[in-house]
Amino acid sequence: MTGTSKITRYAIVYSVLSAATFVSIFPFYWMIVGATNTSAEIVKGKTSFGGNLLANIERLLEQVDLGRVFLNSAGLAVAGTLLTLLVSSLAGYGFEMFRSRIRERIFALLLLLLSVPFAALMVPLFIMVSSAGLANTFVAVVLPSIASIFIIFYFRQATKAFPGELRDAARIDGLREWQIFLHVYMPAMRSTYAAATIIVFMMSWNNFLWPLIVLQTPEHKTITLVISALTSAYTPDFGVILVATILATLPTLVLFFVLQRQFVAGMLGSVK
């Protein structure tokens, strides 16, 4: 390749990547700048910082019980993540370590059910939850997501790399199967759990449609439900909305920067 064409090629590469970076980052900048401006200024496209941040926060606090909302979102995400990891990793381990023909068939059936869209479930799930008296409860939000075929599959795949000798040695030492799972398997699979934690936490923190259906009263609202309600107002107050958007994005953003490698591993693994 000649020198000039190499320069042209790099010029193209850098312009394309810089444009992509600008487009990817700009909305984040806009979110922060917008949170300091009034709604009228945001609608007019003002791109510089203003002095309205405190007023926006104040109005958000007037409209919603922010502490409550955050606690709801965090509680649902933490409880959902712990239960999903426990139940789904148990199953992934069980399917891989104890083979039987019936369970292999069941596993194959689960993989078929993997692609059932939530839209097909929401009507019957809503009726079930209502008739069980669980409408407008956090239990109803968490329960249907605990056994996740995605995560079961993810753990089964990861378990293939778990050395059988470790289990055999533990058996000779007289450990029971559940003790082996708890004291040998779980510590050995730390990185798998880390990646799965991120992906499940993201899913529950950002969950929208099912909580929208189940949770009705203000004291049950999560941060995504609050943002949605603010946005669907006849004249949305964008200053307030963007403050709420920052609050909703911050936890996952921090998670991403702290655990970047596991984050990407989780993304890649969760759909493989």
Binding site: K44, F95, R103
Partner: protein, 292 residues
Amino acid sequence: MRSKIAHGEQINGWLFVMPALALLGIFLVYPILWSLWISLQVGKGSNLHFGGFANILRLFGDKVFLHALTNTCVFFVVQVPIMILLALVFAVMLNDAKLWGRGIFRTAIFLPCVTSLVAYSALFRSMFESDGVVNNGLMALHLIAEPIQWLTDPFWAKVMIILAITWRWTGYNMIFYLAALQNIDQSIYEAARIDGIPARARFFRLTIPLLKPVILFTSIISTIGTLQLFDEVNNITQGGPGDATLTLSLYIYNLTFQFMPSFGYSATVSYVIVVLVAILSFLQFLIARDKK
């Protein structure tokens, strides 16, 4: 003795998978079968009676449903190829180890993936006002002469949704291609370079064929995702203007929770998505088998 051990293995096997299977039975298998049964019922609220295929026939005469189906198909037919192509281009560019600032570009393009669908929808809603920042930017660049009516024009509202989804998911797909590119043996490229094959030909005749399985995989995953599109249209346009951005999932939601509920009919509409997803998953299965 041996049979006793085998027996114990069997019991342990069931104990480990049982909690998950019980939950999946209650919250997945049962609702699917129930929804199939409800889809044969007609009537409003809890006043349901058996209607056979009446709901399926109703689909064909339901203009709003046909509108939602067309919109959903427009979204994935237009959006998925654009996004896949962009993600591929970025991934190939970033796969160059000598590229300065590689990590920064990669992180920046991936960053939209950490936002929640509702949060970024609200964010995009605030950018697309008629005097808003997007129109100002496009006008400053002389790309448009007058403001685009993103929120009130049926055509531009669809474009806005497509732009939003592309922003959120391109980096996600790019990560898959980067991972796949790193698994390609670099000596193939060395050999091609020594043979004097130009960069463009290397991209189309080496990279694309080698990445074909990942490209097909991500296309199908993205298409399935687009078929279920809800959060964005619900929070950016509420399906409007008119029904210009109404999707199947949003229509099901409206049928069930906004209007006087007709559970049977909304279950029927949901089965349209099931059938479309099933066809796509079957295609994916065929391709995966083909690969082996």
